[in-house]
């Protein structure tokens, strides 16, 4: 799994590519988790546009970040969900607690306009 991260103020953008399962979740833990733990980071925009597969292990990793950031008053925003991935994320109930956007720009606009704390 390829993961790149970018910090924009207190917003962390993580772009994932590949399959998010028990094998690749380790890369998520190594590359995304420490970045969300930086002082000041409150919001995680998770771009899953290039993620083709996710299972309950991947769901657990995303949920872990949600719980962590929520305690700091932050949020997780999801971007670019492909149909098979969206189905799993929806079934797990993540769309009830994390807003979804078609692009990073739209997610950033929502934050900029104050609709997302």
């Amino acid at each position: 799994m390829d993961i790149t991260t970018e910090l924009e103020g207190n917003i962390l953008i993580a772009r994932l590519a590949g399959e998010l399962d028990i094998e690749t979740v380790q890369a998520f833990r190594e590359k995304v988790v420490p970045e969300t733990e930086r002082p000041g980071v409150k919001t995680l925009i998770l771009n899953l546009n290039k993620v083709s597969f996710i299972d309950s292990t991947g769901i657990g990793a995303i949920l872990g970040r949600y719980r962590f950031l929520e305690k700091k008053g932050g949020k997780v925003l999801l971007v670019g969900l492909k149909a098979p991935v969206k189905k799993i994320i929806k079934m797990a109930g993540l769309l009830e607690i994390m807003p979804e956007y078609s692009s990073e720009e739209k997610a950033l606009n929502e934050i900029g306009e104050g609709r997302i704390a």
Binding site: I22, F53, D55, S56, T57, I88, A92
Partner: protein, 146 residues
């Protein structure tokens, strides 16, 4: 017309992708949609992941994956010789989980994505998950005929 394939693999996380791709490839012999093949991939991924995390928590063991086509039905059996489950009924309860980040979703996905599944286990001997699925197209055709 039946078919049969068998995979024996070490309980390593980098084998999970192989397991689900093999299962989807095997299943594609039946008239499953791409959506259904994705569902099969998730179910197999969950069953094999459970073996790695729960059956063999301390050392590697063998995971057997038996795949059959009987008539128009796909049968996938995932078996381990790991620690087993003390209370199978408890494991089948919604949201049951022993790991903080897992939420008990694995078996819920298997239950949702396969037509039915059976879980049997014996502490100290291992666990068997049997999963069954028939293509929706075929079910619809049969309903239309009847």
């Amino acid at each position: 017309m039946g078919n049969h394939a068998h995979i024996s693999m070490l309980s390593r996380s980098n084998n999970v992708g192989l397991a689900r791709l093999a299962a989807a490839s095997f299943a594609s012999e039946l008239d499953f949609t791409l959506n259904e093949l994705e569902e099969i991939k998730v179910a197999v991924s969950e069953a094999v992941t459970n073996c790695i995390i729960h059956a063999y928590p301390l050392e590697e063991g063998i995971i057997e994956i038996d795949m059959r086509i009987e008539g128009e039905e796909l049968i996938i059996v995932v078996e381990d010789k790991g620690v087993g489950i003390e209370d199978v009924e408890a494991v089948l309860q919604p949201n049951y989980s022993t790991k903080e980040e897992h939420m008990g979703l694995g078996l819920a996905f298997i239950d949702s994505f396969m037509d039915r599944f059976e879980l049997s286990s014996e502490p100290g001997k291992g666990t068997i998950v049997q999963m069954y699925k028939t293509p929706e197209k075929l079910k619809n055709r049969k309903e239309a005929i009847s």
